[in-house]
């Protein structure tokens, strides 16, 4: 399965086109171009501060809610710019779900967390909501653990469960893309393994982009991998190729642990 060429049998879901990204005056991304295929997992690796989180936060434009940002270049979703004037941010973020570095469930019940998105978007029918909750929690492999305590606080779950709840919450609005920003960095090995299993199941239905500084994780879960350094894309290829015969010296040095 991993031998399929990265650039790719599936049509490209996301196209990043010579993207420069600035926080105020500080430039975080330099001319990044990257086509991300649908229905597979694309990993982004690189040392801290290399711009990997910035890149995925540029896709659903969540990076700009707490920072003054400026861009050159473009990000396209299904061929349409997400930075265009007429772009509806609400619709964009419904289509592009996100799971954050630290589990961030709301201090509400498990059920309210999962249904937060659907309720925002006006789903009122009780049966429909129940159905959404159950399928989303199933997809995030959490249903069996929480089905008897849906009205308990999400804060009572373990870190790993909270993160899967956040995945379920993101899936509940029926997104097309799932962005994951180091989703396992706050979890123990068991929690991490469960998330990776979940990703494995989800990749057939979604375009998943995962940022990770865990190279084994990238190797395990992804089909394509991009290696970033200092805001630039160094190498982007089939995951297998990146981890066995990288074209760039820098990539090789990084994945063999010579720095980073």
């Amino acid at each position: 399965m991993n031998t399929a060429p990265a650039i790719a049998p599936q049509p490209d879901k996301i196209e990043v086109q010579s993207l420069d990204y600035f926080y105020g005056t500080e430039q975080a991304l330099f001319g990044v171009s990257m086509d991300i295929p649908d229905k597979q997992v694309t990993a982004i690796i690189g040392p801290s501060g290399c711009g990997k989180s910035t890149l995925i936060k540029a896709i659903n434009r969540i990076g700009e809610i707490s920072n003054d940002i400026r861009i050159h270049g473009d990000v396209r979703l299904d061929g349409a710019s997400v930075y265009g004037k007429s772009v509806n941010l609400v619709e964009l973020r419904r289509r592009v779900g996100m799971v954050f570095q630290k589990p961030n469930p709301f201090p509400k019940s498990i059920l309210e967390n999962v249904l937060f998105g659907p309720k925002l978007h006006g789903v009122k029918d009780r049966d429909r909501l129940e159905e959404i909750a159950e399928t989303s929690l199933h997809k995030a492999a959490l249903w069996n653990e929480v089905k008897d305590k849906l009205n308990k606080s999400a804060m009572e779950l373990s870190g790993g469960q909270q993160q899967r709840l956040c995945i379920a919450r993101a899936l509940a609005v029926d997104p097309e893309v799932l962005l994951m920003d180091e989703p396992c960095s706050a979890l123990d090995p068991i929690g991490t393994a469960r998330i990776e299993e979940t990703i494995e199941v989800l990749k057939d239905q979604y375009c998943i982009v995962i940022v990770t500084h865990n190279m084994q994780q990238a190797a395990r879960v992804s089909q394509s991998t991009a290696f970033f350094m200092k805001g630039k894309i160094i190498e982007y290829d089939d995951t297998e190729k990146i981890f066995t015969t990288p074209a760039e010296k820098l990539t090789e040095d990084y994945i063999t642990g010579r720095f980073g």
Partner: protein, 309 residues
Amino acid sequence: MKLGRNIVGVFFEGLCRGCALLVCVAVLAILGFIFVKGAGSISWDFLSTAPSDGMTHGGIFPAIFGTVAITLLMIVMALPLGVAAAVYLNEYAGRGRGARFIRAAINNLAGVPSIVFGLFGVGFFVLFVGRNLDRVLQTGLLFGQPAMLWAAATLAVLVLPVIIVTTEEALKAVPLSHREAAYGLGATRWQMIRRVVLPQALPGILTGAILSISRGAGETAPILFTGAAYFLPRLPVTKLFGAIPMINPLDQFMELAYHIFIMATQSTNVELTRPIQYGTALVLLALTFTLNLGAILMRIRFRRKLRRA
């Protein structure tokens, strides 16, 4: 060297402890003094009847009624306004020059002496707003005179900074990660505020309400010219549609803090009314405490709900 440092440490710990103790002693002394002096005049009659014999005998019921009514009216006016202002400042205004100017204005408002609020209340609410309402609505002299409505409005302006500042602190405390999560699910800014930020900030907002109730219920100067009455032979109540009893916000009212003030300064016989003054002070303290307790219980309930559900 080590010993020297230890001595300094012990000395400052002792100093801080002493200061903390001093505060407790001061509070207890005030409460104890008022309790000892005032407890003797407390009786059911004192709490349930109106003053009599030229205010030298009888009870303080109208003042209790007036205090509760005006405090509630004040909080009903101030809370929505203050919370809305804080939401604007924290969620919409950003860090621009406009926001800085508003913040400076609020801080200055907090420093204005309460008697100035009283004069502002007469000038703005009674004479400007009230008289103009009368002129426009052709109501003769209905709004343009001191009344509970204007006194409560004046108090509301007085406590506005307290509510805005505490609410803003509570809004700031809502983590960015929760805001990001809401936006990430496609929430609009208002949906994010309404469904994520405000519920989490509610306990903090109630703290602001508690503080302003304590502040407002004890104030005398702002209501001095705007609606408080020396003596009122009736309660400020009316019947809505001639049937439903309600507080009449256009009537004047008696109030506990003001009652203490006039009893101590303008009574026909100050010495004779001394026990009434202490009794009134005790009732005022108890009443503020009760109003606070209600708000604190509400806050505890919301906190627990946040943690659990």
